[in-house]
């Protein structure tokens, strides 16, 4: 196991100084790997400066793609074009049909939903599909910090229901910060304590910040490796 990781750190584009500040803060807070959402058309050489910054702070950079398809067809097209260029693919499910397609597609790693309870489609049917395809449910913590009053109450109620459904169907949970600046960043233990608000026990909260995200990264790095042939089959030696 790699330690703690945050698969959704929203680093500011075009601000290397703030990027470095956030990465240093992540390292201080105890994170060993961070996922950073990158533009779909980014070239490999454009990621290099970010990788160097991460290496300088002792953090393992995980490249992440956030897809926001409007239709299932759009999702399939984007996955076909982009899946092999990123280590983690998250889908922001804007409609039930997109959520269903994302949950049953084995190329999708994270199912992400907006904080508004009307836009959260993670129900039993969704969880059953996700458990078959090994997609995980992403719980973004930033809205919990940002929202106040009734919207936060509604979000907590939705998360409580989703955590219960995910547990029933064996869907992995991944907690991520969604932080846009260093003031929104919290230590893994603090996020785990916040997760107890929606009835996620502390050990499971810590697992959602360590083992669960790392298993996704490890699995996908294996698949993206040139030695990968098929699940369970790797090139050991070339003649």
């Amino acid at each position: 196991m790699k330690g703690f990781g945050d698969l959704n750190l929203r680093l500011p584009a075009g601000s290397p100084r703030q990027t470095e500040t956030m990465l240093r803060r992540a390292s201080e807070l105890g994170y060993r790997f961070v996922g950073v959402s990158l533009p779909p058309r980014l070239r490999v050489d454009e990621v290099r400066p970010l990788q160097d910054l991460c290496e300088g702070t002792g953090i393992d950079l995980v490249t992440r793609l956030d897809l926001r398809p409007r239709t299932p067809r759009e999702l399939l097209r984007d996955l076909g074009h982009l899946r092999r260029r990123f280590e983690v693919v998250a889908v922001a499910c804007a409609s039930k049909s997109v959520a269903r397609q994302a949950a049953k597609d084995h190329r999708v790693d994270l199912l992400s939903f907006p904080p508004d309870p009307r836009g959260r489609f993670f129900d039993s049917a969704e969880a059953e599909l996700a458990s078959g395809s090994s997609a995980a449910l992403e719980v973004e913590m930033a809205p919990l910090l940002r929202l106040r009053g009734v919207p936060r109450i509604q979000l907590l109620r939705s998360l409580r229901r989703e955590v219960e459904i995910a547990g029933r169907f064996g869907v992995a949970l991944v907690a991520s910060s969604g932080a846009v600046d260093e003031y929104q960043m919290r230590a893994p233990q603090d996020y785990a304590a916040l997760a107890t608000l929606f009835d996620l026990p502390l050990p499971l909260g810590l697992r959602a910040l360590s083992e669960n995200p790392w298993s996704i990264v490890e699995r996908n790095r294996g698949k993206l490796s040139p030695d990968f042939v098929a699940p369970g089959i790797h090139v050991v030696r070339k003649r």
């Binding site: 910090l145 940002r146 106040r148 600046d181 003031y183 919290r186 603090d190 916040l194």
Partner: protein
């Protein structure tokens, strides 16, 4: 029979663009506990600010061990003090002040 309280001491560091006064920190913590857990929860938190260093934005908070997760969640939910962005980080937790000072000087 009155049960012996097992205290937990939390070393805190406030990340803020300006020094956070003792009063503001206390108010922010109580406000966060009240917002998340209500008056019933706040009464169980039994919070006390033991030490405060405004220059280093550091503090030591005390709570019963049964309320530790509740207090941690409340501290994590603090996002601003007097309109300025702030993050309260728990640097460490210990069962005695002495060991807290040894581990997190």
């Amino acid at each position: 029979m009155i049960r012996h309280v097992r205290w937990r001491y939390l070393a805190l560091r406030a990340l803020s663009p300006q020094p956070v006064s003792r009063g503001d920190l206390t108010d922010a913590v109580w406000d966060a506990v009240l917002r998340l857990f209500g008056e019933h929860g706040a009464s169980r938190a039994n919070l006390g600010l033991v030490e405060h260093d405004p220059d280093g934005n550091r503090a030591v908070l005390r709570c019963p061990h049964t309320a530790l997760d509740m207090v941690r969640a409340s501290l994590a939910s603090i996002t601003e003090i007097r309109g300025k962005p702030v993050a309260i980080h728990v640097v460490g937790v210990s069962g005695t002040l002495k060991s807290l000072r040894e581990k997190f000087p």
